[in-house]
């Protein structure tokens, strides 16, 4: 084989030229954080969602900053979901719309001090971002520096959950260096957390080192090596092969392959439900919605599709929102379900268009189970399964009768009202159920206006009952996330809100 081997030699001769491509991710590691394997005790973490906007806090990537303890806001959330001090030592509400925050003494990773002015600048930048961070979408606030360590924040209308809002990673306080003239924001070396990003290589990896000037003390781990692995099986494989110490979100199909002591389950704030289109098609009829509700049994999904990593649905909010348990309001006044014969008669010739998306592996499987349950109740079902962005416009336009939907119920604010308002009020921007019900609107508005925490929670549960009464949504299961953690790692945070993972105390044994 003379000629092909010449070609082969040529190809092999080219390989060293291209070998630089391997290093594209690692080229400056030696100059940056010190060599990778050199520093013992560094944590190796596999995250699931690659950076969309170079870790800008105004994008999807914001949670990475809080997960890895890179940046902090004025407040943080504690385990019960209440606001806790972070960069702000304390705060008080002066009147309905003004709050005063006292800052603690802290410094940014670039050496500059955290001052009231830097907080004001950071919040101003968030306000002026081209696409406003979601957490600011329903509020407008202005910040003012009173003195070196006092900030006053004024909101246009009363905002009882402002301290919760400020805990959002999108409102992390970064140093002046982070904000470029063209509107981009870079958290590299500009946060205040115990870990500092020293290198970000595209969408593949990042290196973090301990920030010794952190106000809360020194982190136990000397640094973190982050790699982004989008494929769940590959993440699980990386953990099993010993390439990483921590792998987040192991898919349920892979969880059983992990050793028992590496797999940790966390109740998640995600609820999977069947959303019925009340605006057009067969489910405008409340008795048919009721029939669908009675036909569908979410608990059948728990041990099958979710492999045990889910809880049967109790309502819109699950065990990850602990206060809901004792406050649940009984649902009354539901429509009477149509019998199988009635369903058949009323849907004659019409098929139920059941949509779901491929982005979450469990949903298409769940749809197939639900299809069988609905068919038993007399519906004729046709599935449409695509990538989410390929169908979102159609969903919002009401082109489907039902959607198997996985939704985060506590959004950036850590407050449940935001989710209810966007998904179930008549003018909600994410109202896929096309629900227009004045009682629901009223109940959600009442919850939004309440400032007393306990009373607010009670009103949220009342709104939940109102929504469930309409049968616009049938909760199926509350998901659990499986985090893979090697046995020699201690102190990983298992957070239902998916906001924290590694902090000061996380380290290798």
């Amino acid at each position: 084989m003379r000629t092909p081997s010449r070609g082969l030699i040529a190809a092999l001769a080219l390989t060293p030229l291209l070998a630089g491509c391997f290093a594209s991710g690692q080229s400056d590691s030696s100059s940056g954080a010190g060599s990778k394997e050199g520093a013992a005790g560094r944590l190796r973490v596999a995250l699931a969602v690659p950076p969309a906007q170079a870790l800008s806090p105004y994008s999807n990537d914001a949670t990475v900053l809080s997960k890895l303890s890179v940046a902090e806001g004025l407040t943080a959330l504690d385990e019960d979901g209440a606001a806790a001090p972070a960069l702000a030592r304390s705060w008080k509400r002066n009147d309905a719309t003004t709050w005063t925050f006292e800052l603690r003494k802290a410094s940014f990773q670039d050496g500059t001090e955290v001052t009231a002015q830097s907080v004001v600048d950071a919040l101003d930048h968030a306000n002026e971002a081209e696409t406003k961070p979601r957490v600011l979408s329903d509020v407008s606030l202005t910040a003012k520096a009173e003195d070196a360590d006092t900030v006053t924040i004024t909101t246009k209308s009363a905002d009882p959950v402002l301290p919760l809002r400020l805990a959002s990673p999108a409102l992390a306080i970064l140093s002046a260096k982070a904000y470029a003239k063209d509107g981009t924001v870079s958290p590299v070396g500009t946060g205040t957390g115990p870990f500092e990003i020293t290198r970000l290589s595209g969408k593949t990896s990042a290196a973090l080192t301990r920030f010794d000037g952190y106000w809360g003390g020194k982190a136990k781990a000397p640094g973190i090596d982050v790699s982004w692995i989008a494929d769940g099986t590959a993440r699980a494989n990386a953990l099993r092969g010993g390439d990483v110490d921590i792998a987040e979100w192991i898919p349920t199909a892979q969880a059983k392959l992990l050793d028992k002591d590496t797999r940790h389950e966390v109740p998640s704030v995600r609820t999977d439900s069947l959303v019925l289109n009340t605006g057009s098609g067969i489910f405008t009829d409340a008795t048919l919605r009721a029939a669908a509700r009675e036909a569908v049994d979410g608990s059948a999904l728990v041990d099958s599709v979710f492999g045990g990593y889910a809880d049967p649905a109790e309502g819109l909010f699950g065990p990850a929102v602990p206060w809901t348990a004792g406050k649940r309001v009984e649902v009354t006044g539901r429509a009477k379900a149509a019998t199988t014969a009635q369903v058949k008669a009323e849907t004659k010739g019409k098929t139920l268009r059941l949509a779901t998306y491929t982005n979450r592996a469990e949903l298409p499987e769940a749809a197939s189970v639900l299809q069988q349950q609905l068919e038993k109740a007399g519906f004729r079902v046709k599935q449409d399964v695509r990538e989410y962005t390929q169908m979102e416009a159609d969903l919002l336009a009401g082109k489907y009768d039902a959607l198997v939907f996985s939704r985060v119920t506590l959004l950036d604010t850590g407050d449940a009202v935001a989710y209810l308002a966007s998904d179930y009020t008549s003018d909600g921007v994410y109202n896929i159920a096309a629900l227009k019900d004045s009682a629901v609107d009223k109940a959600i508005r009442a919850a939004a206006e309440e400032s007393d925490t306990a009373e607010r929670q009670q009103k949220i549960m009342r709104a939940e009952a109102e929504i469930l009464r309409t049968d616009a949504v049938v909760p199926l299961v509350h998901e659990k996330a499986v985090q893979g953690i090697a046995p020699d790692v201690e102190g990983v945070l298992l957070d239902p809100r998916e906001r924290s993972l590694i902090d000061l105390d996380t380290h290798l044994k």
Partner: protein
């Protein structure tokens, strides 16, 4: 024909093929630039989604994105701005991340090309092993029995993503020989290169193995043998005769992996161009997508020119002078094994389908999930407790039917385009490297989600291997002596085509098409996420494989059944047609 104007000036021809290439590239980039406007999917929404997955799509945010990206100016203004930038070496900034596009694309391109070269090395190795027996026997004149080896058909039918999963699990996780994921040095290249190269090598080797006996039965080989030339010498020259017909297949089989290895890139977490282009396509991040498409088209054309030059170097003067002896497969007695193989494949497949058709493929039984093969479920059950035998049986007809139809359309289109190589060369090269997903998106843009969409999309790009093959073989055939003789005896074009060209071309084309059948099944299924093709839960072999892939390690039977069925189909197709050809 070619003889008639065999010495025609080369320049107009080059000019024509050059224009063809420019047109093909320009057409492709324009089609991509128009994508959001054709599909009427608002890029503001998809870009917003890519930036922030849980963001509520409020009208104010969408308007902000629209204004930021200048979407209201329309597609042409945007395309013009991008082209203007390209002229200055600036490909613009990504709509999603706001970062410059060029470094992202060049980085991913470098990674993918490196991986492709690794796969090429494996391909050459595997192809060599596949042909080793024929080369050894042929060079010693011991090639007495015709043998259609089914080995290549088996290997070529292995789904690459399944092979990748298997290698990652066994060599990466269990044995720890190589990293199971990442891209950190030559050692991370081994497993993905194997996963990509083994099926490709089997494909190329299968085609070469088919062409070699003809070379060994040419008069020169007999003379050299009787004179006592060493077998190695004969083998080299036989390869030199047979290779030029197969080389163009490297383009759609190996070079296409630069943009088309998405599944393997995902499994091994390789930051390659396939994933970059896929993400850009889903987010409708046009600057990134256009640049990636352009890079792929340019790569395809460069590789096409290189392969062309290599072919001409191998064939040399005889091709130019029209003095190339035609390669014709010798009539050898046929082995009996072939009948047995074809017969048993047919019996097993028919048995599977018949047994499967008697069962319910859609019945979900969540209690009996992932049950291993047993009397009640001979092939086991899937993750929803559905009977796999039933799903295989019910899916057989639809899967095989659609795949055969798509392959037939592709082969005929390829044959027709291959007859006008100067015009179609650019188009063939561009289509060869175009990822099927992009074709799928273009199809959805025009037809919307539909049952036939997947078939249309695959037809859109699937013809390129056959066009490349036809063009190469026809060129060689035209340069052969007997064509010159026919022409001098007054044969017309139609006569030449019917009596000389097609008979020489069709067997090779057929074998190529049949070896590609399993790939077609998988590509058809891979477009499901765009809403193309039959929707779940309809059983279809490609879908069976992809929906059970996550369970490959936990419950291997869920993928072994469909993969085995695909292998059987492929072997049956290859051996069955070989039988027919011989007996005809």
């Amino acid at each position: 024909m070619s003889v008639a104007h065999g010495l025609a000036p080369a320049r107009p021809r080059r000019w024509r093929s050059g224009a063809g290439r420019v047109l093909a590239g320009a057409g492709l980039v324009t089609a991509v630039a128009l994508l959001p406007w054709l599909s009427r999917t608002d890029p503001a929404l998809t870009v917003l989604r890519a930036r922030s997955a849980d963001q509520d799509p409020s009208p104010a945010d969408l308007a902000a994105v629209r204004e930021q990206l200048g979407l209201d100016e329309g597609p042409l203004a945007h395309l013009a701005a991008w082209l203007g930038g390209m002229a200055r070496g600036d490909a613009g900034t990504s709509w999603v991340s706001g970062e410059p596009v060029l470094p992202q694309v060049t980085g991913a391109f470098g990674v993918s090309v490196t991986l492709m070269l690794g796969a090429l090395a494996v391909t050459v190795l595997v192809a060599g092993l596949v042909c080793a027996r024929t080369v050894f026997l042929g060079s010693r004149r011991r090639l007495r029995q015709d043998r259609v080896s089914t080995g290549p058909a088996v290997l070529a039918a292995l789904p690459k993503f399944l092979l990748a999963s298997l290698l990652a699990t066994v060599c990466g996780v269990w044995l720890g020989w190589f990293p199971s994921s990442g891209w950190e040095g030559p050692q991370s290249m081994v497993l993905p290169a194997l996963a990509l190269g083994i099926p490709s090598g089997a494909m190329i080797g299968g085609l070469l193995d088919q062409a070699l006996p003809a070379a060994f039965h040419e008069p020169w080989a007999r003379t050299w043998y009787s004179v006592g030339f060493p077998p190695g010498h004969t083998a080299r020259h036989a390869l030199r005769r047979a290779l030029p017909g197969v080389l163009p297949q490297l383009l759609p089989t190996v070079v296409a992996l630069v943009g088309g290895a998405v599944a393997v890139e995902k499994i091994f977490n390789i930051p390659g161009l396939g994933r970059l282009a896929l993400d850009a396509a889903i987010a409708q991040d046009l600057p990134l997508l256009q640049t990636a498409t352009l890079a792929l088209a340019l790569l395809g054309m460069a590789a096409g020119l290189l392969v062309g030059a290599l072919r001409h170097a191998l064939l040399g003067r005889p091709l130019r002078d029209g003095a190339l002896p035609a390669l014709h497969r010798p009539a050898l007695p046929q082995g009996r094994a072939l009948r047995w193989v074809a017969g048993s494949c047919a019996v097993v497949l028919l048995g599977l389908v018949a047994a499967g058709l008697l069962r319910d493929p859609l019945h979900v039984d969540t209690v009996a999930r992932l049950v291993p093969p047993s009397v009640a479920h001979p092939l086991g059950t899937d993750s929803l407790g559905r009977d796999l035998l039933a799903r295989l049986g019910h899916g057989a007809l639809r899967t095989a039917g659609v795949a055969l139809a798509v392959t037939a359309v592709g082969a005929v289109t390829g044959l027709l385009l291959g007859m006008v190589p100067q015009v179609s060369a650019g188009l063939t090269e561009a289509a060869a490297t175009l990822p099927a997903v992009l074709a799928g998106l273009l199809t959805t843009a025009v037809t919307g989600a539909s049952v036939w969409g997947a078939a249309c999309a695959v037809c859109l790009v699937g013809w390129s291997p056959y066009a490349a093959q036809s063009a190469a073989l026809l060129e060689q055939e035209r340069a052969s002596g007997h064509i010159a003789a026919s022409v001098s005896l007054g044969a017309g074009r139609l006569h030449l085509l019917r009596r000389h060209m097609l008979p020489a071309l069709v067997p090779a084309l057929l074998r190529n098409a049949l070896l590609r059948l399993p790939t077609t099944v998988l590509v058809l299924a891979s477009l499901g996420f765009l809403g193309l093709g039959e929707q779940p839960p309809t059983p279809e072999w490609g879908r069976l494989l992809s929906e059970n892939q996550p369970y490959a390690e936990l419950a291997p039977w869920t993928v072994l059944g469909p993969a085995g069925a695909l292998v059987l189909l492929s072997v049956l197709a290859v051996s069955g047609t070989a039988l027919r050809q011989r007996s005809a």
